[in-house]
Symmetry: C2
Subunit: 153 residues, 2 copies
DNA sequence: AGTTTTGTCGTGAATCTTACTTAACAGCAC
DNA sequence: GTGCTGTTAAGTAAGATTCACGACAAAACT
């Protein structure tokens, strides 16, 4: 059906992206370290990361000392974008269309659901990774990379 | 984990409840008619209905000419309540606790998610079945039961 | 410099778990 | 007994998790 969803995958993705943004030092952040820090299933995260790489949110570098970097500045990546990337890729069709559905469902109940999803997404689109990093900083959470390692390009 | 979710089950439940509220005449609405009208898997809905009955949202009456009625007035049932009933029953524990989770996740990312869920729920709690029926009426959707069949008790 | 080794990401499939759907039968009221 | 709800179990689809192996780039070793 393609129902909107706040999935576990999204949370993992967001945790990983924030982790990279917040802990990134000179070397890129490695998948294994991220999963260790955030308590995310190791093998699973790799798949999530691939989606983020292909979507242009992260940039993966291979080989020893490899890992992941943000593909853009922190303030130019929104939580909404990360969430959208992890939304099921295969639902090319309209989420809640349905021909064999009553008017009541089609014009009252489902619009409510759809509007709700839109509202959530708007909310998420208004929050950037930068915002979350600042929030973490304000709460005195310490970064792996000393402090203030600015992200380039 | 216990992640908040806008599930298909909830949509079905809501569609059914609204259908009952809007189409209810003298006789209770029957499961089969509801599924026919709303395009919901017949046998599946029965289970959903049971949850709603046990939660005191619906009242089932058996035998010929049996069916379902609202257990309360339309304005005293909120969309949020219906959604809550269909939230997985088995997650007795905290939704997003986790001990082996970094501060970054625990104090930044997950609170964001939890707040979002709370916001959604608040929104849903502010909408009653009555509201949806009026919306349907305003849109000129016609009821099975002539018009204006007020609900008793 | 060229080659091998090593450590990481990259990809696809296999397995496990949860949600959804279907089915079969028991219980109750007319 | 007939026609509905009530209950439990079995089957199917979707999501989450794990596994195995290929590709690539840095490092180490001639």
């Amino acid at each position: 059906m393609g129902m909107f969803r706040l999935s576990k995958k999204m949370v993992y993705a967001l945790e990983a992206v924030v982790d990279i943004a917040y802990n990134a030092g000179e070397h890129p952040a490695q998948s294994r370290d991220i999963t260790k820090r955030q308590g995310i299933p190791q093998r699973y995260l790799e798949q999530v990361m691939q989606r983020l790489v292909r979507a242009g949110v992260l940039k993966g570098v291979r080989g020893p000392r490899g890992g992941y970097r943000l593909a853009r500045e922190r303030r130019r990546i929104t939580v909404g974008e990360v969430a959208r990337v992890l939304e099921d890729a295969d639902d090319a069709q309209d989420p809640l269309a349905g021909d064999d559905v009553s008017e009541l469902a089609d014009r009252v109940v489902r619009p409510l659901w759809r509007d709700l999803g839109d509202t959530i997404m708007q909310e998420l689109d208004s929050i950037t990774i930068e915002d979350l990093c600042q929030s973490a900083h304000a709460k005195g959470i310490d970064s792996e990379s000393g402090e203030r390692v600015q992200f380039d390009i």
